[in-house]
Amino acid sequence: MDNQEKEPIFSAKNLKLLTEPLGKNNPITMQVLGICSALAVTVKLKPAIVMALSVTIVTAVSNLVIAALRKQIPDRIRIIVQLVVIATMVILVDQFLKAYVFDVSKQLSVFVGLIITNCIIMGRLEAFAMANKPWPSFIDGIGNGAGYGLILVVVSFFRELLGSGTIYGYPVLEKLGIYKTGYENNGMVILPPMALIFVGLIIWIQRSRDKSLIEKN
């Protein structure tokens, strides 16, 4: 992408909005938002990627809509307005998934609907879109969705590789002939609790690399 020509649109400040959620201000490991779905859909890479894309789209578009409407929304009923905007987006995404990737939509089951109550979206709407212009809000939505997606992809990559011996459904370990040496898939990794432990390890790695993120209490 040529950032040179679009300098005003991708100014340094906006770029920071895009990149910061990927590391320092990651929605999952730092802001503790959107954990519920992050853990449940990470058994395989494919649903995780679909989920990450869905959340990114919903976050970005609802950020955009709310930011555009922010001066019209009465403060007292803002939560209901936000929920309606989010729910509309989620319905669109859900219908789209049902039409084009039905098997993934079945695997995700209730978690598509739960995007509505995904705290990332509400959190970003409250913290950012209500106080900023539409374009930066849109970028912020994309950035936070991507930061969420990054963790999902990392966790599901390792869970699928260690648990089922495949990557995106492709039997890597079998092709490499690793099973002949007596290696067996670790069934434990597929079970839900391991997702929590993986995220815990990611937090550990992230915070030991950047000491400033360590919590003091």
Binding site: I80, A87, L114, I116, T117, P193, L196, K216
Partner: protein
């Protein structure tokens, strides 16, 4: 009766909202620093589930499902509103939470003081919407079964959050590696508790 007991036990232990589906994780991690507040939030969750799950069940059965509107007349027999599920469920939940808050404030100020701050939080707790969506997916036969499922899920959630809060209180005295402090260790602890809860898997009464 046996069936109801089965649903009850299953929704508390086997299909525990937190340890099997990770629902309500955000508030689970944020409000689990002391047992007292954890207990308050847990009770509020049970309360809201007790009200919203049966209401959503009735809405689903008499309004949203394909052919559910037949009681309005023959010509409504093939209306299918199920695509509106998310919007209607979340609206019901948000409205009910608001209503419960007002009623509790009016009639029981003491209860309001202890639950009050948690009630608005609950509207966006995924465990509440999740319970309604699971209720829809598992197709419970009648409103009693749905209610029992709702209460059971709430009790399961309460057990989980009180458990982790108790552990975190004790954790103050242990020597956790610096980068793991706070969030990191809580994740790993929850993972270990979840493994313990998996021992309940397959229980059938």
């Amino acid at each position: 009766m046996e069936n109801l007991l089965n649903i009850f036990v299953k929704s508390i232990f086997v299909d525990n909202m937190i340890f099997a589906f990770f629902l309500g994780m955000c508030s689970f991690l944020a409000v689990s620093k002391s047992v007292k507040t954890a207990l308050g939030l847990g009770v509020a969750v049970i309360f809201v589930l007790l009200i919203t799950v049966p209401i959503n069940f009735l809405i689903e059965k008499y309004v949203l499902k394909e052919g559910a509107l037949i009681w309005l007349g023959e010509s409504f027999g093939d209306v299918d509103l199920s695509f509106l599920t998310f919007m209607v469920f979340i609206a019901t939940i948000a409205a009910m939470v608001q209503l419960v808050e007002m009623v509790v404030e009016k009639f029981s100020p003491a209860l309001y003081n202890s639950l009050g701050i948690f009630l608005p939080l609950i509207a966006v707790n995924c465990a509440i919407l999740g319970a309604s969506l699971f209720m829809q997916e598992r197709e419970y036969a009648n409103v009693v079964e749905a209610t029992v499922f709702g209460v059971g899920s709430g009790i399961g959630w309460l057990l989980a959050i009180v458990g982790i809060a108790a552990i975190r209180e004790k954790l103050k005295y242990s020597n956790v590696p610096d980068p793991l402090k706070g969030l990191g260790i809580t994740f790993i602890l929850t993972g270990l508790m979840a493994i313990a809860f998996m021992g309940f898997m397959g229980i059938q009464l």
